[in-house]
């Protein structure tokens, strides 16, 4: 028999012959097959997700702790001849950024929108609890004539 809409070219896929079994229609078979494919896809996606999550994510957490990071703002920092360091923490950690600088200006922790003034030769600290996960850039916005702008460090806070 011919399915409605099935092209009659030589290359068409073979269609089962249901002529002797009028109670089973190819449209119904196709509908059942599509439903089965959709359902099994959803089951596989959910199963994969649960399996992957609990296989890989569990056991990576650490207890909340205090982390102190020291940054010395030198000429090398301003001219970018060395990559800015990456400080790693976890959500909930107590973070202290201790900055000593040759320059004056503002310390900006972008993303967390924390701003602290800094003076030459003085150690300035930024203290906070890492409530948000993410990647946050610590920049020096100089108040000199050149409006010095330098990346001092990157703080990566991993979620728990």
């Amino acid at each position: 028999m011919r399915i409605v809409g099935q092209c009659d070219d030589a290359g068409a896929l073979a269609v089962p012959d249901f002529s002797g079994k009028p109670e089973i229609r190819p449209v119904k078979v196709a509908r059942f097959a599509k439903l089965a494919i959709a359902a099994s896809t959803v089951v596989m996606l959910v199963g994969l997700y649960v399996g992957m999550k609990y296989s890989y994510a569990i056991g990576t957490f650490t207890a909340e702790q205090s982390r102190v990071f020291h940054i010395d703002v030198s000429e090398a920092c301003l001219h970018g001849t060395e990559p800015a360091p990456v400080f790693e923490a976890h959500q909930g950690d107590h973070v202290v950024l201790a900055v000593t600088s040759l320059y004056s200006g503002g310390l900006y922790l972008h993303g967390l929108e924390t701003v602290v003034d800094i003076a030459p030769g003085m150690e300035t600290t930024i203290t906070f609890t890492a409530e948000h996960a993410g990647r946050f850039f610590l920049h020096l916005h100089g108040n000199d004539e050149d409006h010095t702008h330098a990346e001092l460090a990157v703080l990566e806070v991993a979620p728990r």
Binding site: I3, V4, G5, Q6, C7, D9, A10, G11, A12, L13, V15, P26, V27, A30, A33, K34, I37, A38, S40, T41, M44, L45, L48, Y49, M52, K53, S55, Y56, A57, H79, G80, T81, P83, A84, P85, V86, H110, G111, L112, E113, H132, A133, G134, R135, F136, F137, H139, H147, H149, A150, E151, V154, E156, A158, P159
Partner: protein, 509 residues
């Protein structure tokens, strides 16, 4: 950067000529500054388990799509007769002239506000409204809205409105003074697109630079419309029109211009039917679609550790011996110079790579299904199937930026030029709006990419059923197309999993 120092450091005249060539290449626009403009991304790369899950889910979805379509007795249909009119479910009627008038005036007003704010407002991109209006509200928010409500931009295009006004004043843009070369196709729009991404990635974005760019673009539109005729230029050369038309093709609404002046009708249609039905137009539109994909990919890639390590750990070792003996200062200048060349050429090379891969896959599809049509013709017909992948990757890449910036919009509206006004009498803007949960961001990124992949696979299949004479050809062509979709989706997922580099200072963006 001290280009003079760089030039002087080249030992021979030949080297200097080469250097001049690259200077022309790289100095067209100013070097990126160390300072950020107003976007500071805070997204962490997706963790390994989500990345692995996403890859496996992509395979499952791909094979499920094949199985689903194999189980569906479908018709091999004729190509669609026209754009926007097929797949139509319902005729929704005319759009009121007053509504159109208000929208068009509003669009022109916003364009003027954007330009004016850059010239007279504060230089601070955070407190000048023009950066947020253009980069966030228009290029991101309006683009995402277009995928839902259709190509509204075709109705409210401010450059179209300004041409209208000029024609009312006696200037004639309706006739072509020079015949538009057919071979050009959408290349002018593509060039403007590349220029826009170039500005986004490689220049120090500021309100002033943006306003200058918008004025320059407006001049280009007027010159193009004057030379080639308004209709021609708005169709082929006006970048924003082409960009929003492609995105709007996914929407469940189409807008049809009727012969009367300023009359538009809206028609509802099946979602994504626009990208299935739109007939092939020009090979340059394939480049445009592929650049939609590759430019967003490159935006994600160009400051990752992997990409920068290629230069710092490998290429630099190859090119450094060619410099001879240079002082530390010159060496530093050369390193940065060649890094700039590396970064900027990467944008074009990635487009070339994407085009090469796409055409190769189309050629394979043509070969295994024994199709008579040319590779170029098939490439044009299937290029729209990549739009969903490009679109969702754009969302995954920028939506946190959109969310972050859109929240400060009321305060920017209240003080558009950064003069300290408070026109809306708002309370002081909060310093901390809160950040989106990283887990939510990761899951949303992966879910969107998988949805985009599924839609693209389905669209490619539906296009093949319209294009080919036999179902066998339609099925066979889908095997290489599916591999192509999986490759593009995998690259998108991979880039989401990459760590950003700490060499941003050296990289210059």
């Amino acid at each position: 950067m001290q280009y003079r120092t760089v030039l002087e450091s080249f030992a021979t005249p030949a080297m200097k000529y080469r250097a001049v060539f690259f200077l022309v290449l790289t100095c067209l626009l100013p070097d990126a500054a160390q300072a950020h403009s107003f976007e500071v991304p805070y997204i962490l790369p997706i963790p390994l388990w989500i990345y692995m899950y996403a890859c496996m889910a992509m395979l499952v979805i791909s094979f499920a799509a094949i199985g689903y379509y194999s189980a569906t007795p479908v018709t091999v249909t004729s190509p669609a007769p026209s754009s926007g009119g097929t797949g139509v479910q319902d005729y929704s009627g005319a759009i009121g002239r007053s509504v159109i008038l208000v929208l068009r005036i509003g669009a022109v007003g916003l364009l003027f506000l954007t330009i004016a704010a850059g010239f007279i407002g504060t230089k601070d991109p955070m407190t000048n409204i023009n950066m947020t209006l253009f980069w966030v509200v228009f290029l991101l928010g309006f683009a995402y809205l277009t995928a839902i409500v259709g190509d509204v931009f075709a109705i409210i295009n401010p450059w179209d409105t300004m041409l209208d006004i000029c024609e009312t004043c006696g200037l004639d843009f309706s006739k072509a003074r020079v015949i538009y070369p057919r071979a050009l196709g959408y290349l002018p729009a593509l060039c403007c697109y590349i220029a826009l991404i170039w500005i986004e990635l490689f220049t120090e974005q500021s309100p002033f630079v943006l306003s200058v760019a918008l004025v320059a673009y407006s001049v280009i539109v007027f010159i193009g419309a004057w030379l080639f005729g308004r209709e021609t230029w708005l169709r082929y050369g006006e970048f924003f029109g082409v960009f929003f038309r492609l995105i709007g093709a996914m929407a469940p609404v189409a807008y049809i211009r009727t012969p009367g002046p300023g009359e538009w009708h809206s028609r509802s249609r099946l979602p994504f039917s626009g990208i299935v039905d739109d007939p092939k137009e020009h090979l340059s539109l394939v480049l445009f679609v592929l650049f939609m994909l590759s430019s967003t990919i490159y935006d994600g890639l160009h400051d990752t550790q992997v990409w920068l390590d290629i230069y710092w750990k490998h290429l630099l070792q190859l090119i450094e011996p060619m410099w001879g003996s240079v002082g530390p200062k010159d060496r530093s200048a050369l390193i940065i110079f060649w890094h700039t060349v590396y970064q900027r050429s990467g944008l074009i090379l990635l487009l070339a790579l994407y085009v090469g891969v796409y055409l190769s896959v189309i050629a394979v599809a043509k070969w295994i299904a024994k199709i008579d049509a040319s590779v170029g013709s098939l490439a044009q017909r299937f290029s729209y199937s990549l739009i969903p992948i490009a679109f969702v990757y754009n969302i995954t890449h920028y939506f946190t930026f959109l969310v972050a910036q859109i929240r400060v919009l009321p305060w920017l509206v209240s003080d558009p030029f950064g003069f300290g006004w408070n026109l809306l009498h708002l309370s002081r803007a909060p310093q901390d709006f809160g950040l989106l949960d990283m887990g939510f961001i990761w899951h949303m990124q992966v879910a969107l990419i998988l949805i985009g992949h599924l839609v693209s696979v389905c669209v490619a299949h539906m296009i093949s059923l319209r294009v080919f004479h036999t179902r066998r050809q339609a099925i066979l062509t889908q095997v290489p197309m599916l591999v192509l979709m999986m490759m593009y989706t995998s690259v998108g997922l991979w880039i989401l999993s990459l760590h950003l580099s700490q060499r941003l200072n050296e990289a210059g963006g």
